[in-house]
């Protein structure tokens, strides 16, 4: 028994170490050497950028939560045409990375976008999606275009969390209220308060994603803190970038701690009980709800994909870029598959380790695994570069240098650090829902730990492990910043290529490459959805 625990504990601790150690390494490094000039960069400009990011994050969180609530409410509590299909595919916008959402929206609302041109020609309005409003101290702080694009990319995250909330509400509690006071008051008085922890958590999640997003503000020139951090890291001093990221990291860590320790803890810990069946009486037919829900999805996912398909044109565009982008597509695919497997395996290890430690200590392990989630990808990437660069410099051309620093190792560790939380959650969410009785029965029957794990536990955890793999795969495929910062030429990703191509204004080719990446993301998701008849669920 002890040996079995050690077999889980040692690699789990190694995974946690690989994820957390670079952040500590770079953090400590920032406090050594030329400390004065680094801290001097933490000036008023940075704080202005922080305000912009904060406003963007709050706005994005509010609107995304509202969208998520509307869609999920329609799917769970109303009946309309295609409800089941919508329930299965509403995560589709997540398949399109935020910077690709940006490309597609700019085609409508950009300076030369369809609608911007039309508005200018017919009404004389000069519309620009990049424009900021509400001047404070001579500079705008509110960027609705950037916010709108982030909402279209991130609201499904909010919807996933809120959907988990709806599944945990006992339908009988709502029915009791419906019988007593009718549907509207039941929604206000019972459903919404019971959903409150999930609504808060959804909001905070989106807030963290929005405030740490680099691709959207970079393409729209929105002056956020992330742009400053990236610029400083690339052009000045990576450790100075670590320092100016401190206000951002403090905010995201606080948000994450709220989710984990505050009201969101109930959400995070989940529930194992079956709350009961949602009856047809709880789902009255509503065409309005259907239009609303489908409308949200079609505008936020249908539009970007349709616009990209349209811009890419016929097969000749794809043929034209095929040979040029093949190395990056191959590298992305290999990285996504290997990262997906690594994230699922590491998620299983860490979740198993957390489970073995019991409720309280296990929760601490999970907090540790989730911590890098609060760090922007830029900070994670520069920390990894700092630590592994120093280590590989000890023996140039050694194993570390060839396989980690200049090889596939560093991007993999970066993706593991960024997306391990999803791996841990994918497995933990399934673990908490399972009864321990079958394992106990196997133990009582005299089966050893290993046999029990492989024959009883693992098959029951399979959907969670696969969910972790699919999530890891999709997120890695769409990841931009680590691709730009840590990958060597050999492992340049398709997203990094897209980002570079955007700056050379090759719109058709960019669109065609985006469509190819979206298809690569869609295939395993569709297989998973069909094989397991479920969405990729993280809670």
């Amino acid at each position: 028994m002890k040996r079995a625990r050690l077999l889980v504990a040692i690699p789990a601790i190694a995974v946690l170490g690989a994820v957390v150690a670079p952040l500590v390494w770079a953090g400590v490094g920032a406090l050594r050497g030329d400390v004065g000039s680094r801290w001097a960069r933490l000036n008023g400009v940075i704080l202005d950028r922080m305000v912009n990011s904060f406003v963007l994050g709050i706005g994005c969180a509010l609107v995304s939560t509202l969208f998520g609530l509307a869609l999920v409410w329609a799917v769970h509590r109303r009946e309309f045409f295609g409800r089941r299909l919508l329930g299965a595919i509403y995560v589709a916008p997540l398949l399109v990375p935020p910077h690709i959402h940006t490309v597609s929206w700019m085609r409508v609302f950009g300076r030369q976008g369809y609608l911007s041109n039309w508005l200018h020609d017919h009404w004389g309005w000069q519309f620009d999606i990049r424009r900021g409003f509400v001047d404070v101290g001579g500079a705008p702080v509110f960027f609705p275009g950037t916010m709108m694009i982030m909402v279209s990319a991130f609201w499904p995250l909010a919807a996933l969390v809120i959907s988990a909330g709806f599944r945990q509400i006992a339908p009988r509690q709502e029915e009791a209220a419906i019988v007593a006071v009718g549907r509207r008051r039941a929604f206000r008085g019972v459903t919404l308060p019971l959903l409150a922890p999930h609504l808060w958590t959804a909001g905070f999640f989106v807030f963290i994603f929005a405030i740490t997003c680099y691709g959207v503000p970079a393409l729209l020139d929105t002056p956020t803190i992330m742009l400053e951090v990236f610029f400083t890291s690339a052009n000045v001093d990576p450790l100075a970038a670590w320092v100016i990221a401190i206000p951002l990291v403090a905010t995201t860590v606080a948000a994450l701690l709220f989710v984990l320790l505050g009201g969101g803890r109930r959400v995070w810990e989940g529930r194992s009980l079956d709350p009961g069946r949602v009856t047809s009486a709880m789902r009255p037919r509503s065409a309005t709800a259907g239009i609303l829900a489908w409308g949200i999805l079609l505008v936020t996912a249908g539009w970007p994909l349709a616009s990209l398909l349209h811009k890419a044109g016929g097969p000749e565009t794809y043929r034209a870029i095929w040979n040029n982008v093949l190395p990056q597509v191959k590298a992305s695919l290999i990285l996504a598959v290997v990262a997906g497997i690594t994230i699922a395996a590491a998620g299983l290890l860490v979740a198993g380790f957390a489970n073995a430690l019991g409720r309280r200590r296990g929760f601490l392990v999970e907090v540790l695994a989730l911590l890098p989630f609060a760090f922007p990808a830029v900070v994670v990437a520069l920390s990894l570069n700092e630590m592994w660069g120093s280590l590989s410099a000890l023996r140039p051309d050694g194993l570390l240098d060839r396989w980690v620093y200049r090889g596939m190792g560093l991007p993999l560790i970066a993706y593991l650090a960024l997306f391990l939380p999803f791996g841990v959650r994918g497995v933990r969410a399934t673990m908490t829902r399972l009864s321990p009785r079958p394992e106990e029965a196997a133990m009582v029957a005299g089966r050893g730990s290993l046999a029990t794990f492989t024959s009883v536990t693992l098959p029951r955890l399979a959907p969670g492990i696969l969910a972790a793999f699919v999530l890891g795969y999709i997120l890695t495929l769409g990841e931009l910043v680590a691709g730009l910062m840590v990958n060597t030429d050999r492992w340049q990703t398709a997203q990094a290529r897209v980002f570079n191509m955007i700056h050379f204004s090759r719109d058709e080719e960019v669109a065609a490459l985006c469509v190819m990446i979206a298809l690569l993301a869609l295939v395993p998701t569709a297989i998973y959805a069909v094989a397991f008849n479920r969405r990729v669920e993280v809670l």
Binding site: E175, I178, V179, A180, V181, R183, R185, V190, L194, T279
Partner: protein, 343 residues
């Protein structure tokens, strides 16, 4: 004058399963009807259909003469003037006791009104507590208070007492009876527990596989079951085959006189409840039997006996040894059910 609840030819399907099949039922004002049946027989579906929480595929439901449910028609549950107590109570975990009552009433209760209600349901002093901080009995009383706070004249109970200990369940049945008398409340209670049915009901409706098998007074259900299923389910009666001749029914218990005026059904079988059979160890009786098992019921013993190959349950005043032989006597009026087509 129309009945309080009228159900006509009600049917409801869930995929291949027919949860309700052609149910006809009338419940008069102020009546307490208990729907009794095994798990999965459709009794909860029937109750939920009355509440408007379940659609109907065929037939209709009328409340106070008004059509409220039919195919394509479902009057909103909140507009049916009902109180509903759910099996798992469905208390709102986010609300304190006082807020649960205010919310269910649809208004803020006056303090005197709330105090009276809390007093009535023995919840005084618990206003600030949430459901998780209440005992099982307190939760039940709160669920009941919540269902009645808006003053409905029809109370629907979905096995709310099933999870309670005997004493608390008995106490709550007392509360229910008292409230039903005070408010002239019509009650439909669904349960699978016979003792609850007999203690609460003016009439009992026995259900099986989505159909009503018998609707009658508790005495009739017990003494004159409509068929073998009702007899077996309600009183765990044994069915004895035999032949009728010369005014008597000859079976393993001997010749049981057929009362005057009783018409035997086709393929008659004698329904024998354990309380109608007395076993006397070592004594003679109408039939000889041997004890195969025994259980102490508190004041008397229940014995399982083998009587000429038939396994029967009987009562015994003294503690019998396993294997002892004795006499078996049938007491009371015999009741015959049809043996044909029994499931």
């Amino acid at each position: 004058m129309s009945a309080h609840v009228e159900i006509e030819d009600l049917s409801r399907r869930f995929g291949e399963t027919e949860a309700l099949s052609g149910v006809d039922l009338r419940v008069e004002r102020g009546e307490r009807l208990v729907v009794l049946g095994p798990s999965g027989c459709g009794k909860t579906t029937l109750l939920r259909a009355v509440a408007g929480l379940e659609a109907v595929d065929r037939g209709e439901i009328r409340l106070r003469g008004e059509r409220v449910s039919a195919p394509g028609l479902r009057v909103d549950p909140a507009r049916r003037g009902i109180g509903f107590v759910f099996q798992d109570l469905a208390l709102w975990p986010n609300m304190r006791v006082a807020r649960q009552l205010d919310f269910a009433a649809g208004r803020r209760l006056a303090s005197a009104e709330r105090a009276a209600l809390l007093e009535r349901f023995r919840l005084a002093g618990l206003e600030r507590r949430r459901p998780a901080e209440l005992s099982g009995g307190e939760q039940q009383r709160l669920a009941l208070a919540r269902a009645l706070v808006a003053g409905p004249d029809l109370l629907l109970l979905d096995e709310p007492l099933a999870a309670l200990d005997v004493a608390t369940a008995e106490e709550l049945r007392g509360v229910l009876r008292a409230i039903a008398r005070e408010r002239e409340l019509t009650i439909i209670d669904v349960t699978h527990r016979q003792e609850e049915a007999f203690e609460l009901a003016d009439r009992i409706a026995v259900m099986r596989a989505g159909r009503l098998e018998q609707v009658a007074s508790p005495e009739d259900i017990l003494d004159r079951p409509a068929n073998a299923f009702v007899a077996r389910f309600v009183s765990r009666a044994a069915m004895l085959d035999g032949t009728a001749a010369e005014g008597a029914f000859r079976c393993a218990l001997g010749a049981i006189p057929i009362p005057a005026g009783v018409t035997l059904p086709e393929h008659p079988r004698l329904a024998v409840r354990e309380s109608r059979l007395e076993f006397r160890p070592g004594a003679d009786g109408a039939a000889r039997a041997r004890v195969t098992d025994r259980a102490f019921l508190g004041e008397t013993w229940r014995v399982e006996v083998d009587c000429d190959g038939a396994r029967l349950r009987a009562r015994c005043a003294v503690a019998p040894e396993i294997g002892v032989e004795g006499g078996l006597e049938f007491r009371g009026t015999p009741w015959f059910v049809s043996g044909g087509g029994e499931a």
